[in-house]
Symmetry: C2
């Protein structure tokens, strides 16, 4: 059976953490005094109260935490956080209506970045800070989830690099989470600070710099400006953001090694090399097209190409230009990149480079297997043979991804009049990217989507963010048996 008391105990503890971040936003709102202070403070008090009460009421729990409990906690955290996270929006009146507020909060915690806001600059600073920091918190959650929890739960080939992660061996959950959090959150915070300083140095206001650092490192993509990064014309600022998007899309344990000067380990990592390779390949294609067809200068086309490719591929979702107005050829490439995602163990979402490489390699190896039917030819990855068990899991992930995408598009198209928007909305929420195609493209937003659509897309964000299985398994009859 599920260890209910323990699960509620953990959720209570985490709600106190969420309340802490609300208090931080309250401090920011005090600096600007734009009328949102009390709303945020009350939100923090409610959240903290519920957290403290549930935490202490469930103090006496059985120590043993099973895998099933893990699945339930992880899925519930995102839902519970998103519900309480709506309080600042609702109480301040910044976003009226639970549906819109929940969509915006889930989009934050899942580091998606899809928004229902029509006028971001009209919001008070405290609320904008809260909006940005939901993504930063989501990023912290994802680092622990993907580097400490999922490998133990055996999801989606995450075991493949589990052995590579610094920290205790992956079978005890608690010490592992603690160690991972300590080591990798340190790096996460350092990078965030570094980016903020570099952006301030480039002329960005400190408030905007901090908010954008939060949402870059989380590959979230929420901006404090309606025009997103296009608001700043400075090439320097764009290059800084490109750099940190690339870092945020890299496995954080590789950053750990890099910080300890073990650069060989970084460069020898197969996923990292494919990741950089894909970025270069697609950026160059886009760049060449922008130079030839749009007559852009070398530097401009390089920057535009890099920015859009990195932003979509890492599932950040910042925008510097309306790439939907580019040729269909380029729009299709950027749409395709929504299915790539960052590296495993990064804050990037979607399918992820590791899985794509494994799928491509297996297909290529299959040709060899057909020619030599009696030879055993396993897929090699990072110098090791990949077990059929892991491949079958990656296969299952890919099929679920396509299945959920297809069903999603069909369901959304019932109320969404345009085929483009339906495809874009589902791809971008499931992949935690941010902007989609058509009316939900880089120049649009999700405000006009139907109520059902918003709840459904919020569910897709969570599904995608939690590597599908974590949530899907809860719907499996076997899970609740015995």
């Amino acid at each position: 059976m599920i260890n209910k008391r323990l699960i509620i105990h953990i959720l209570g503890f985490l709600l106190m953490v969420e309340a802490g971040f609300m208090l931080l936003s309250f401090l920011i709102s005090l600096l600007y005094r734009e009328g949102d202070q009390w709303a945020i403070l009350v939100s923090a008090i409610i959240t903290a109260a519920v957290g403290i009460i549930t935490f202490f009421l469930t103090r006496k729990f059985k120590q043993k935490m099973g895998k099933r409990d893990g699945y339930v906690v992880v899925s519930l955290v995102w839902v519970v956080f998103s519900f309480f996270g709506t309080l600042p929006y609702l109480l301040s009146g910044a976003i009226p209506g639970l549906t819109n507020a929940f969509f915006e909060t889930m989009s934050g915690f899942t580091t998606t970045g899809s928004s229902i806001l029509n006028d971001i600059e009209a919001l008070p600073h405290g609320i904008l800070f809260w909006r940005s920091i939901t993504q930063w918190m989501g990023g912290m959650g994802i680092i622990v989830l993907s580097l400490a929890i999922l490998p133990v739960l055996g999801i989606g080939g995450m075991q493949l690099y589990a052995a590579e992660v610094p920290g205790p061996v992956p079978d005890k959950l608690r010490p592992r989470i603690k160690e991972t959090a300590k080591r990798l959150w340190g790096i996460y915070i350092i990078f965030t600070l570094a980016e903020a300083l570099l952006l301030i140095f480039g002329g960005m206001k400190p408030f905007d710099a901090v908010c954008h650092s939060f949402t870059t490192m989380a590959t979230g993509g929420y901006s404090t400006k309606q025009a997103s990064i296009a608001y700043w014309s400075s090439p320097y600022i764009q290059y800084v953001i490109i750099l940190f998007m690339i870092i945020a899309g890299t496995n954080f344990s590789l950053s750990y090694y890099a910080m300890h000067r073990q650069f060989r380990k970084v460069w020898k990592n197969e996923e990292f090399r494919w990741y950089i390779g894909f970025i270069l390949l697609f950026s160059i294609v886009v760049m060449v097209f922008l130079m030839i067809i749009h007559g852009q200068r070398f530097e401009v086309s390089l920057r535009n190409g890099l920015f859009q490719v990195v932003s979509v591929m890492t599932t950040t979702g910042y925008v510097t230009s309306d790439y939907l107005s580019w040729e269909p050829f380029l729009a299709i490439i950027l749409f395709g990149l929504m299915f790539f995602g960052g590296s495993a163990g990064s804050t990037g979402g979607s399918v992820k480079i590791m899985r794509i490489v494994l799928l491509l390699k297996n297909s290529y190896y299959e040709l060899k297997r057909l020619i030599h039917p009696n030879a055993v030819i396993p897929v090699r990855y990072n110098g090791h043979n990949v077990s059929p068990r892991i491949l079958s899991n990656v296969l299952a992930f890919a099929v679920f991804y396509i299945l959920i995408f297809s069903i999603g598009v069909i369901l959304i198209s019932v109320t969404e009049p345009s085929v483009d928007s339906a495809f874009g909305a589902v791809a971008t929420t499931l992949g935690n990217v941010g902007p989609g195609l058509g009316s939900v493209g880089p120049m649009g937003n999700f405000y006009h989507i139907s109520g059902f659509g918003k709840w459904f897309l919020s569910f897709l964000m969570m599904l995608g963010r939690l590597e599908l299985f974590t949530v899907l398994i809860l719907f499996s009859p076997t899970f609740w048996k015995k």
Copy 2:
């Protein structure tokens, strides 16, 4: 090394067969005397001459035929047939230009049904007959390929039902091909005759009835009318065609059993049950929508739903109404069905029901595996455990399919201005369906596609028709080693 003499010998033999079918078309053209007689006769003579010469020049060959030779022969047959098959079009002037003629012929032999013709009714009857019979020949080739050759070559899980196929055990190629051809072509011919008679009974002219029987049984979809099946308003004719499309999309060895009154074997077949299930599910969805939104009568919506779902799912590609003018919801469902395809061992193309079922089952089983990580839980199919070997091949197939589709869309979009048409053109040619979306939709055709586009799409038709691997393996360096 490749057994070149044997390969050329086989091709020579098959060219004589092609010439035979040209002669048949010549006889038809004699009945109508519309100026195409001599063009078709000369085509037959050229084809026969090349066939006879190469056949006899390579009489002395080594008996041993390896798997590699199998791959080369199968791929070459479709190319060689398509080149010689252009002769009637070119010599009669019905289709000027090699590019257009080759596209139309490859679309015929691969039973795709995509056309570059703007005015089908303007063509002489001999040419129309040749156009229809290329699909029928293609269907014959596919039956032998998928039920006798591919299982031996080990492609795409085709082994899964190999044991089920009537005939000698699948390791000697020659006797197996002979047996399969004898038993299953008999059924193919019987069904073709039956459909033709039923269509004539319903008031269709004998010539049109025979041509449509050819292209139904091949799931090809070439019509003798520009408006396709919409030309005939008779519900009876549409129901007859629906029935035979369903039969053509069924594994022909199941039809063999049905003819021998072993109905239990048919109904116990898992793929067949899913196939019927998918048809019913999607037809009902479309039907309900047509009734509610379009206010169609019950019988009309049932017929429209069934016809379009069956036509696209079996990759036939006949049209009775412009389904692109329906809601995005329905257009998206029909687009998705382009990736289903008929049963394995039928004349239908695309991914095929068997593979889709295996992929879905593996994903569902993966949830169980995550919950019980120490249990070995293989996928069950038709009452047997599926080996990891076969699953990995099906996985590789699916990944190649998606990869080729994606690269195809990107390449076609360079010259094709609309995103819809690019997606539709690639999905429909790779899946051997026929009509696509946008400008290549059910009311359009492929005439306006660029020269490069037509050759590339022809290549995709062949790739899809030959289950990808048969062609891809020729591009693998390992294939040509040693």
